[in-house]
């Protein structure tokens, strides 16, 4: 029997750790593709040029936008963990769980900036 714990989750720092983890996994899944494209620069210039010409397609831009947003989320939530662990807390329910919102807002702002620049 699995005892339910679903309502012990769902607080702000829970979502921060989920966001941190999922963005990390998504970025890790992207890395092999990134290296593959980089390797084309050495091994196969023509395919690389073909791929890079795709970079102007809207779909590609949206993919890039997703990556930028994931990177910002992952970085902001990672910095949050460092602040949690390295800077002494003032009290037990220290407001720093709200750093989640700093990360989310940073991701939205940088995401919008990227979109405006891209199109």
């Amino acid at each position: 029997m699995a005892i339910s714990n679903k309502n012990a989750r769902g607080h702000t720092s829970y979502w921060a750790s989920i966001g941190h983890r999922l963005s990390g996994l998504a970025l890790a899944a992207f890395i092999p593709f990134h290296f593959l494209v980089l390797s084309l620069a050495v091994n196969d210039r023509t395919s690389l040029d073909g791929l890079l010409s795709l970079a102007d397609q809207p779909l590609f831009k949206i993919g890039e936008w997703g990556l930028v947003v994931l990177l910002v989320i992952h970085m902001a939530f990672g910095i949050r963990v460092l602040i949690l662990e390295l800077v002494p807390w003032r009290h037990g329910k220290d407001g720093r769980t709200n750093l989640v919102w700093v990360g989310v807002i940073a991701a939205i702002m940088i995401g919008i900036y990227f979109l405006v620049r891209a199109f």
């Binding site: 720092s13 662990e85 390295l86 329910k93």
Partner: protein
């Protein structure tokens, strides 16, 4: 609402069992523990559960209520019932003995593993130690000292669920209070245990423990304090 529908886990130590549903009269002032007691007194004398003080001091009455561990003697029905329904299960991360009682042996063994035993520098023949409340270390120890050993945080912790060796939030919170206690003779030893295998570094900083602790302690704060100390001691700075 005149009646509550209460689903209670009835099971044995082999994790076999099922939910049994009871209809219990809804009353003006009623805690989860009142409801469980009423079921046991009136409807099902074979129901096993634990309690002692009924006022949030002893830490023995914790159960999982609607998917969240809680101290049942201080949890009012109105705060948790959804459409007059309540589901009550034992705590997580500990072996069930029967129904709502679980075996807390390992939970307390982990307190010992984390260095939770107080070892003083003076004897009872010496004058009582003076502890100025303004002392920063004392304030850190005080922040975690009121633990009632209820295991609510331990039950809420997903890391304990994934790694059964992880010492868990309560034991590490205890270690943090000792590491900051000027009267303790073995502070370095406690720190070494708390930062050792399956110690504070296993914590994922998710904070379920702090969100669930019924007396408002913050095991996360204590664990992060230990992590910081472990880094400082790695860099050669003693406690």
């Amino acid at each position: 609402m005149t009646t509550l529908r209460v689903k209670i886990w009835r099971g044995n130590e082999n994790e076999e069992g099922e939910f049994q549903t009871f209809d219990v009269p809804a009353r003006e002032n009623q805690t989860i523990l009142d409801v469980v007691t009423e079921v046991q007194r009136v409807q099902e004398p074979g129901l096993s559960y634990r309690f002692a003080c009924r006022v949030g001091v002893c830490g023995s009455c914790a159960m999982t209520v609607n998917g969240k561990p809680r101290w049942t003697c201080r949890t009012h029905i109105n705060a948790v019932a959804k459409d007059g329904e309540i589901t009550i299960e034992p705590l997580r991360n500990m072996p069930v003995i029967k129904d709502l009682t679980c075996d807390m042996t390992e939970f307390f063994q982990k307190w010992q593993k984390a260095g939770g035993k107080f070892d003083g520098t003076i004897t009872r023949k010496d004058p009582v130690a003076t502890l100025p409340p303004s002392d920063l270390k004392r304030q850190k120890a005080d922040a975690g000292i009121e633990c009632i050993n209820c295991a609510v945080c331990y039950s809420a912790c997903d890391t304990v669920n994934w790694d059964s060796d992880y010492l868990g939030p309560a034991a590490l919170n205890r270690a943090w209070t000792l590491v900051n206690d000027e009267r303790a003779a073995n502070r370095q030893e406690v720190l070494d245990k708390a930062i050792g295998d399956s110690g504070c570094s296993s914590c994922h900083s998710q904070g379920n423990c702090t969100a669930a602790c019924p007396v408002g302690l913050s095991p996360s704060q204590s664990i992060h304090g230990l992590k910081r100390m472990s880094l400082l001691s790695f860099l050669g700075k003693g406690i």
